[in-house]
């Protein structure tokens, strides 16, 4: 029982909620870039929230189902066609064996999650099915691959489906541990600038523009997580994403809220946003 990958698309990978507990060995958590969208797609089918889905970026794959099953999508909005007939987004859809799923025009966002009844069954590596360079045998789908599914599809009862967070021009951030070492001018830049996603954006990191003032802050290698915003000496801001490294040598000036990581995961090159500062998280001696 499987899905046959006729065409892999631009960057399609198997993702769940990532691997927890291997950061001390330098292994990033990985997992779906937009975690809420993955949970939504799963919940539409009554799957476990962390079942593995396909994360599909910008240009979708062509997939042939070799089993009768249910599918559901969430995240970015694409035109979807099953045997060339349009099918709805964010709804459970019954698929018959041999039917072909194609992705048309991208209407909103850049990453869509395709859930299949029971979840995709590619092998777990270090407790997760999420594709990750240096950890899993593949980091993205290739033409001709077969993705294993459960033998039998039993669509479970659907409980609550999470509401999708709507982007309102702002990404919410907490001041990072090194925020206080910034100059007043750099702090103001973070508050006031309108930023833009540069062409350097992928599953590891999003670089954003414009730069802040340069700095000469020295920093011992420290721990970073998805959503940590690092400032390079040249003043460039780098937002670490799901596959980003686990330690970094640059000051951590901001930390994105979990919702905001999901939001930026749907932003393409040149998307604009401002930071909105959340109340400073607590600090105590």
């Amino acid at each position: 029982m499987s899905i046959k990958v006729i065409k892999a698309g631009m960057y399609t990978s198997v993702q769940d909620l990532g691997r927890i507990g291997y950061g001390e060995y330098g292994v990033p958590k990985g997992g779906a870039m937009d975690q809420m969208a993955l949970k939504t797609a799963n919940s539409l089918l009554g799957n476990q929230l962390d079942d593995a889905c396909l994360e599909i970026t910008m240009i979708g794959p062509v997939l042939q189902f070799q089993v009768d099953t249910y599918i559901a999508t969430a995240g970015a909005e694409f035109e979807l066609f099953l045997d060339d007939q349009p099918i709805p987004f964010r709804e459970a859809v019954f698929v018959k064996s041999n039917q072909v799923l194609k992705f048309g025009k991208l209407k909103r966002g850049i990453r869509i999650y395709l859930a299949v009844c029971g979840g995709i069954q590619t092998p777990k590596v270090l407790e997760s099915r999420s594709f990750l360079k240096r950890v899993t045998p593949f980091h993205k789908l290739e033409d001709g691959m077969e993705l294993p599914l459960l033998d039998k599809c039993v669509k479970s009862q659907v409980f609550a489906v999470p509401k999708q967070k709507v982007f309102n021009g702002f990404l919410e951030v907490y001041p990072g541990p090194e925020f206080d070492s910034l100059s007043d001018s750099q702090k103001e830049q973070l508050h006031k600038y309108e930023f833009k996603v540069s062409h350097l954006n992928d599953r590891m990191a999003y670089q954003i523009e414009p730069n802040l003032d340069k700095h000469q802050m020295d920093q011992l290698t420290s721990v970073v997580v998805a959503g940590s915003v690092q400032l390079t000496p040249k003043g460039s801001l780098i937002i670490l994403m799901r596959d980003g490294q686990t330690t970094g040598g640059y000051p951590r000036v901001l930390q994105l809220s979990e919702e905001s990581i999901d939001l930026i995961a749907q932003m393409a090159t040149a998307s604009k946003f401002k930071f909105r500062f959340l109340t400073k998280l607590k600090e105590s001696l």
Binding site: Q255, L256, K282, E283
Partner: protein, 240 residues
């Protein structure tokens, strides 16, 4: 030993605990002892140590931060010294020039002989201050000053897995093939990171590393032993 710590909430589910900004083995030991005490008390938590800090993460959002910090402070006060034991790991390195392709240039620059380079590199016991950048990549402290050397001006697109290099005041091993700008002085046959191993990396932050020289023949032999799963890692409790 007890330090003045700073606790800060890092995001919805994480607390960052910071020690004074020092590169110090006693401090690293203190971090590991606290890490151990936290793991025992909060079995669902997960933490990563690096140089002078500990990032502590919970599976769900932190609801009462003040309560959590009070519990952590209590744990720190009551933690027992010596609840954590670090390991001493001896890592074989073949310093043959076929692997240590930058040796000749380095020896020229540093005005030492290849034998002296090997002697200096294998003399010290190194401390693992962090693991990151790549899975299984160790940040090692303790390189002899006479081996400090700037990285390559033009980084290589491909550095082979196991390559042992020097960059600035750091030395380390590439756990997998990757681009890199370190000066290569040798190669180790060991797998610093392998998902089939449990755990996937045999080194932890706080462990001690010693390198010892092997010939190309021994390199081949150990490679075969690793492939056939009969290699025995030289890992012993470290006595302070």
């Amino acid at each position: 030993m007890s330090y003045q710590l700073i606790y800060r909430q890092y995001n919805e589910r994480s607390v960052l605990i910071q020690w004074p900004q020092l590169i110090d083995q006693a401090l690293l030991k203190d971090i590991n002892e606290f890490k151990k005490a936290i793991e025992l008390h909060f079995p669902k938590s997960y933490s990563v140590a690096s140089y002078c800090e500990l990032m502590l993460e919970f599976p769900s959002y932190i609801e009462d931060y003040s309560k959590l910090v009070n519990a952590l402070k209590k744990l720190y006060q009551n933690k027992k010294e010596g609840n954590y034991k670090s390991s001493l790991i001896r890592i074989p390195v073949c310093y043959d020039p076929s692997f240590g392709v930058d040796q000749e240039q380095m020896c020229d620059d540093l005005q030492i002989s290849p034998a002296e380079l090997v002697a200096l590199h294998t003399k010290n016991t190194y401390t693992v201050f962090a693991i990151g950048f790549l899975p299984g990549f160790m940040y090692l402290g303790g390189l002899d000053k006479r081996l400090y050397h700037p990285r390559l001006i033009h980084p290589r697109e491909k550095v082979p897995k196991g390559s042992v290099g020097i960059a600035g005041m750091q030395t380390g091993i590439y756990p997998g093939e990757s681009p890199g700008g370190w000066q290569l002085i040798g190669r180790s046959p060991l797998d610093l990171f392998k998902v089939e191993n449990d755990p996937p990396c045999f080194v932890c932050v706080g462990d001690k590393i010693q390198f010892y020289p092997i010939s190309t023949d021994e390199y081949q032999l150990i490679s075969i032993q690793i492939e056939t799963n009969i290699y025995h890692l030289d890992k012993t409790p470290y006595v302070h």
